[in-house]
Amino acid sequence: MAEPVAAGRTAAEIQSNADAALEQRRQRRYLVHALLRSPTFMIGTSSVVLWILMALFSTWFTQSPFDVNPMDTLQAPSAAHWLGTDDLGRDVLARTLAGARSVLIVAPLATLLALLMGTTIGLITGFYRGITDEVIMRLVDVLLALPVVITSILILSLLGQSVAIVIVVIGVLFTPLVSRTVRSAVLREREREYVMASRLRGERSWFVMAREILPNITAPIIVEGTVRLGYAVFTAATLSFLGFGLQPPSPDWGLTIASERLFVQLAWWTVIFPAIALASLVVGVNLITDGLGRVFSK
């Protein structure tokens, strides 16, 4: 009738099939190229990758970040100590580079936790709506109304301080934001016709949420994740600056800035380098977010 299906495949068909596959591969290659050519993305990525490498390997080639040297306190940058020494005579370069370690453990894990919980909550509230949605979203509103840092301090002083608890606290406090983003994506998606079709097939709710809707809202979840990651770095640093979270003698940036700030007029290098390190990581993460967004929206 209308468009008869040829019994066997013609050469042209096989050709066009191969063309399609080629085209897909070409598009993927193009995207990778576009990312590689995007200065935003590349600067962000190199800065983040650099810090990851430092976190892993910096102690192989620097002096020990923990060796106290009472004879050499607050030395200005020199050949022996490229970035000077701090109030206990520890090498600032070694401590700054090693300081990436704690933040690169805390921030990604906290973000991951927030993504997991936020996505689950967002899926459930967005999908069921009604009273479940009302109750959970009001709770979310309450959580959102709490200032993150003050709440974290409260919880940490109640529960005691450990890296694990810092991760959980940041993760929990970031969950509402993620769940909001996910919920709005789910609300949009659940009205789509393929979701209606799945209901007419008698699919269970969890199937519709996990298999039908979730694969189609990964883009907003990834973007939200990178945004949260930037903030998580920041929050983790703030908490250790305030003395909640990592404890001395950890070379953590926030902690270092806090403990050395007393000497900033005498020895600016003890504070400025960890601060630059922190800023470069946060900016790096944000640049990656921007770069991804720009290339994919083309």
Binding site: M1, A2, E3, P4, V5, R9, E13, N17, A20, Q27, Y30, L31, H33, A34, R192, E193, Y194, M196, A197, S198, R199, L200, R201, G202, E203, E212, P215, N216, K298
Partner: protein, 724 residues
């Protein structure tokens, strides 16, 4: 090639007074590192005061042409070649500042969706006045006066009140009037209408067309109408250009081209629109096989050769020129092409579009044979729909009502609708948007629950929501949705989609599922290779075929089709409709077919129901409903369709006012506020009875059938009575 009209660039010193002169335009888009030619040497001229229609499937480059004329191409689009002159001015030479000024003064464009053309945060008055202030330099009060005057010109009721309103307070038709008012405010030399009525209901569309037609007399602008609706062009335009894959394939006076097309593509387009009054038992719809070449696809010879039922080897050897018709340009060029060495890659030399009153051109070697173009589908169609032996009711709907809450207000979207449906029957549901068609469909399938009333299937009462229905009931009643882009899960492969449907609806496992999926794909004529792909890689028609296959996975008894072909191009629409007819013949399935396109509904349906403001106001066989006596609303609806039949003998019946709100429906007869046959107080005070014209044909009106018949068959019914 001498009879290719050589009024080319440079040869005519002073061209005729063309308001728009596009010469040899080539536009390329650059996407993800590739150059995709969209327009390939298009030339056209539009005289001042002339209306030119540009038609073709979506993706042919119609809108790109319009945007290029306005120099509004997206950042990744470039004009590689050619000139665009508007009123003798070369658009490409304008500086940014001149361009801004020129766009405000000399050209105007009306887009498809009026809602997005207006700023939602500004009052209508301020928006319209802005045009006068910025482009004509008027002060505030003068601009305000100008705005008021221009709203009056587009026949908006109560312009004074409209000025103070926000866009969301206006109906779609009123919004489009405002957009047109703004477009005309500066007395443009060129008015571009890009699908100006596509999003509007038939009756509103008719009003806007009347308005454009009337305004044409008063403004001396060239009009470029871009549309896929050939009926619209037939009604509004003097000349028409048919665009295919970025090439103009035929051009000339609209009337001649529509009655006597000389390019196979034009012929194909005309043939695949169901003619009014045609029914599925008469003939299958003609289709255009294949799909539009993808952007950037390498083309050999004639751009249309891959889909052309008349294509010969010579068509691929070299592309034909746009030659004059009548004339011997076609055959002579063909002889030349056959003699020339094969060079499929070479474009034929560029020719400026020949322009002249009454001249026709076609880009085909075989123009002379186009009237005898072979049919693409067998003319014989499916057997008669209902086999009498099985004709029991499969579906009974009894006084179903459904309302929604809108803040404090309660909107009754479906008001006590009852109907029944036989096995193998198609029930067409028509009505304007907001009349409750889709809500009723969702009540039937269980996507939403009815507030009251019952839906019974094969004598058994169904649970109100799909979630509570048995798997057997779900399998029996399936749905095909409107939007091909969201009907399939974009994250799944086509095979996964069908496999899941077969597992849930048909049962079975392993190889039997696989076999069933292959069978379904073959039934809907989707080639196996597309099963590996994601919906994104399929065309709209293919997506809709997969959606149909999904609905048929469990051998349903009833399939509810909610505008399944409305989002598709006419050629694809025809093949989807053919598929539905075919499946019905082989599977004995019943359809509820919802559409706003009356010709399509007429073609497909055995019985038809007309909805107005949540009520079913008329039910009968397709034949009966479309002929007098019928409900006055149906009468008005039918009169409003722009058709290709150019005699235009039917008088259009304009509806008064706009659609009343569902939260506060009119008393008595719901249609009385707009009815042209209103009797008087009885219509306002009493709900009309259900009148029976013949057995099985009922309508809700106070006028008895014989009187209605008399009134509706009078020659010149009510020309005067409604002129106010």
């Amino acid at each position: 090639m001498s009879d290719v009209v050589n009024e080319g660039i440079g040869q005519t010193g002073a061209p005729q007074a063309a308001a728009v002169d596009v010469r040899d335009l080539e536009v390329t888009f650059h996407r993800r590192g590739r150059d995709l030619p969209v327009l390939r040497g298009v030339s056209l001229r539009i005289a001042a005061g002339e209306a030119y229609g540009l038609v073709g499937e979506s993706g042919c480059g119609k809108t790109t042409l319009a945007l290029a004329v306005l120099r509004y191409l997206a950042a990744n689009g470039t004009v590689d070649r050619g000139d665009i002159l508007v009123d003798g001015r070369d658009v490409s030479t304008l500086s940014e500042e001149e361009l801004r000024k020129w766009r405000g003064e000399a050209v105007a464009m009306v887009y498809q969706d009026p809602a997005t053309a207006l700023s939602p945060a500004m009052r209508i008055g301020d928006q319209v006045a802005e045009v006068f202030r910025f482009h004509q330099g008027l002060n505030k009060t003068a601009a305000r006066e100008g705005a008021r005057e221009s709203l009056r010109k587009v026949a908006l009721p109560d312009p004074e009140a409209t000025l103070r309103r926000y866009p969301f307070e206006l109906s779609g038709g009123q919004q489009q009037r405002v957009v047109i008012a703004m477009a005309l405010a500066a007395n443009p030399r060129l008015l571009i209408l890009d699908e100006p009525t596509t999003g509007l209901d038939a009756t509103v569309e008719a009003e806007i067309l009347d308005l454009i037609e009337e305004l044409r007399g008063r403004i001396n602008a060239a009009i470029l109408l871009i549309t896929h609706n050939l009926g619209l062009v037939a009604r509004l335009c003097e000349r028409v250009g048919v665009l295919y894959a970025g090439r103009l394939v035929e051009e000339g006076p609209a009337r001649e081209i529509f009655t006597d097309p000389r390019h196979p593509y034009t012929m194909g387009l005309l043939r695949c629109v169901p003619r009014f009054g045609m029914n599925k038992s008469d003939a299958a719809l003609q289709t255009i096989p294949g799909t539009l070449p993808a952007l950037g696809e390498a083309l050999q010879g004639c751009v249309y050769s891959a889909r052309c039922p008349m294509a010969q080897p010579v068509c691929v050897r070299r592309e034909p020129d746009l030659h004059a018709w009548p004339g011997d340009g076609g055959p002579r060029a063909r002889a030349e092409a056959e003699a020339a060495p094969a060079d499929p890659a070479a474009w034929s030399p560029h020719h400026a579009s020949p322009v002249g009153e009454g001249l026709r051109h076609a880009r085909c070697y075989f123009s002379a044979e186009v009237p005898d173009m072979p049919a693409t589908t067998p003319v014989l169609s499916a057997p008669g729909a209902v086999e009498e032996g099985r004709a029991g009711d499969v579906l009974e709907i009894d006084t179903v009502r459904r309302s929604f809450r809108d803040g404090r207000k309660k909107l009754v979207a479906v008001h006590d609708v009852s109907l029944n449906l036989k096995r193998g029957e198609t029930f067409g549901l028509v009505g304007e948007s907001g009349s409750g068609k889709t809500t009723l469909a969702k009540c039937i399938t269980g996507l939403i629950a009815a507030d009251s009333g019952t839906v019974s299937f094969e004598g058994k009462r169904l649970k109100p929501t799909a979630g509570r229905r048995s798997q057997a009931a779900l399998r029996a009643i399936q749905m095909v949705f409107q939007n091909p882009d969201s009907t399939l899960n974009p994250a799944w492969s086509t095979r996964a989609i069908l496999t899941r449907a077969v597992r849930k609806l048909d049962g079975g496992s392993g190889s039997s599922v696989r076999a069933k999926v292959d069978e379904l794909a073959a039934d809907v004529r989707v080639e196996p290779r597309f099963l590996l792909q994601k919906p994104m890689d399929l065309s709209g028609g293919q997506k809709q075929r997969i959606a149909i296959a999904r609905a048929f996975a469990g051998d349903p008894t009833l399939v509810v089709c909610d505008e399944p072909a409305s989002a598709l191009d006419v050629s694809v629409q025809a093949s989807i409709l053919n598929l539905l007819v075919e499946l019905q013949a082989s599977e004995a399935v019943s359809y509820i077919f919802i559409s706003h396109d009356l010709a399509v509904v007429r073609y497909l349906s055995d019985r038809i129901g007309v909805m107005y403001l949540a009520e079913l106001i008329e039910v009968g066989s397709a034949e009966e409903v479309f002929n007098p006596p019928h409900h006055p609303y149906t009468e008005a609806l039918l009169s409003s369709i722009p058709t290709l039949d150019l005699d235009d003998s039917h008088e259009r019946i304009p509806l008064r006012g706009s659609m009343p709100s569902l939260s506060d429906p009119p008393s008595g007869c719901r249609f009385h506020t707009r009815c042209h046959r209103i009797l008087g107080d009885i219509c306002v005070e009493q709900e009309p009875p259900l009148q029976e014209a013949v057995t099985g044909h009922t309508y809700k009106c106070h006028i008895p059938p014989d009187e209605l018949l008399r009134a509706q068959t009078e020659v010149d019914p009510l020309a005067e009575s409604i002129s106010t």
